[in-house]
């Protein structure tokens, strides 16, 4: 099994609802390093997993949708805790949609799985993995 990973980042504000979150119930923020990993069994005819230029561009388009914003004001996330693990799924699902539409090239349709890791600090991170 092969994989490649590319890293981007976002800087967002948000707040959480629920006693479990303690002081993080207040409006605060985070820099999330966003690592997107693409997996496949065999390399394509160019000897790669996926065009890293397209992977970077499409991940960048997704992070641009989230970046420099207060996630509490995003209607898509109304009533939802935008936890690090949840946001990892948001990014992964949006990448999967773009792959399905061909945005990462025809070859990317040979990808078998995807995972996204968001680092919220040097001491905490979260991941979501899914099949394609």
């Amino acid at each position: 099994m092969f994989s490649i990973t590319v890293r981007d980042h976002i800087m967002i504000a948000h707040s959480f609802r629920g006693d479990v979150f303690g002081p993080a119930q207040r409006l605060h923020g985070a820099t999330f390093l966003v690592d997107a990993t693409f997996r496949r069994e065999q390399l394509d005819e160019d000897n790669i997993v996926v065009d890293i230029g397209l992977a970077t561009r499409e991940l960048g388009a997704i992070t641009a949708e989230l970046n420099y914003r207060n996630l509490d004001e995003n209607p898509e996330f109304a009533g939802v805790n935008t936890s690090t693990e949840f946001l990892a799924k948001v990014v992964a699902d949006r990448l999967a949609e773009r792959i399905a539409k061909g945005a990462l090239g025809e070859g990317a349709k040979g990808l078998s799985a995807l995972s996204v890791t968001l680092h919220e600090s040097h001491i905490a991170w979260a991941s979501y993995e899914r099949d394609l």
Copy 2:
């Protein structure tokens, strides 16, 4: 599959028995960065894998048991090489016990697996993974 990871660290002394260890047979020491990863299929009702505050507290309780000590003097480790990979299992098994006892909250009983990685330097680390 979702996961979250939290990082702590310990600073311990120990020595190894067996020719394979070369100079590490002498009493020496290590800083281990301790990364504990918690996995589950679906997020809980707070939209998280586990209460990160409780996860950090319980991991901290386990690292406190080991920290600033000479592991050669710990009766639990008598006659055992406290290799990085072995200590990863020690931490993981102690976390599993605490999860089973409810120390990470009732929701943590929905966790399916656990892995612990100990970094002994910038060029070597070890992991242990187990189901819950």
Copy 3:
């Protein structure tokens, strides 16, 4: 010249005023890794720069004042752009005050200088250095 550095972090929301900030004029947020460096010419009688336990505790008290908050709502920062470089100075000046008051121990009065670095992401950071 000797120094020691300890790392903490904060997760805050804020926004900027001024065209130069582009999309960062919107309410967003950041995780700042906060590195505080303490300098002195000679070690003290314990052979250290400063009590690392007290340094960590006092840095933690300062980061707790800022953490999990929207800096736009802090009256101390009214009308001010809370840039990374500005916040580095805020942390450094608050540490200097605590040192002057003896919170890092009498020995800490032998410190000659202080610097604080805030990392806003894996690709950008800022520092402020000052004498004591």
Copy 4:
């Protein structure tokens, strides 16, 4: 499941063929951090995954074959794009051969799987995993 990982690095020149590579079609180069991970179900009688000294030595022998070279001039790679993911497989397969020949010790024959990750920068890396 246990694993240990050791890190080495290589500094090589190469070029790619195919429009997908854009400016990387020109002769350029890379530092690859090379992380080799060894997995097994149970620890051996020394309480380890594999002799880390031998693992480091054998990984070093493989990186020495590649290091400080122009990969375009290596007959083994003629007509092949030496992408990061492809090179991860090259290193993994060469390690597997050495394990099979006993170069990592008799105990290493208990290893069940191997993965190699090559980091080409702080924002991109690739992996290859295989059974043993």
Copy 5:
């Protein structure tokens, strides 16, 4: 004294002349992480050291001149060993020229010094510092 740092990277091929370089006399390559640090005594009217957007853009323009190339073929470097420390100076001097021409904004003329660090691997890096 304040500073901000931004990171970029380049992937180049080159070779060295001189016995001191051993196997690095062969054509090989490197990924250089390029950290550019801008210093000034007082923050500007926007409460920043320099417009980080312009700093990133101008550093990117300089790295683009070097990236994905064989430095041995660059007439500017004819007969010169393009060591990591030398390349740090090349980047710093080119940044200084752009600052002098106003490419980082009028405010950037208040900068007092510049340093550039190039990381050639996880175990080696080099810097060059200069006044402005």
Copy 6:
């Protein structure tokens, strides 16, 4: 001003004397990442700060003297707290001696200063700087 830095590491046991050290008064240990930085005003005739091969070899000789040992048993450190900042000075002074003796080459006599940073964990490090 130019500099180059090379990284090595040591794994040692030790204990501290003095209430200020709390639980670190017990025998424990540390992995120290050891970064040695060499500075000079102008590059030498090979266009470098110092022969990085010799610098790495000599730093390695010094770390080998300390590595895999209990520093409490080293007569040179009798009655001394082997704090991170103190050990940074030990390494720096030993490097300075080797430079003076010509072990880093004749060219190394053009070096003007030296600094050594020891990282004891991901959240604490110490440095010592000196002239040559």
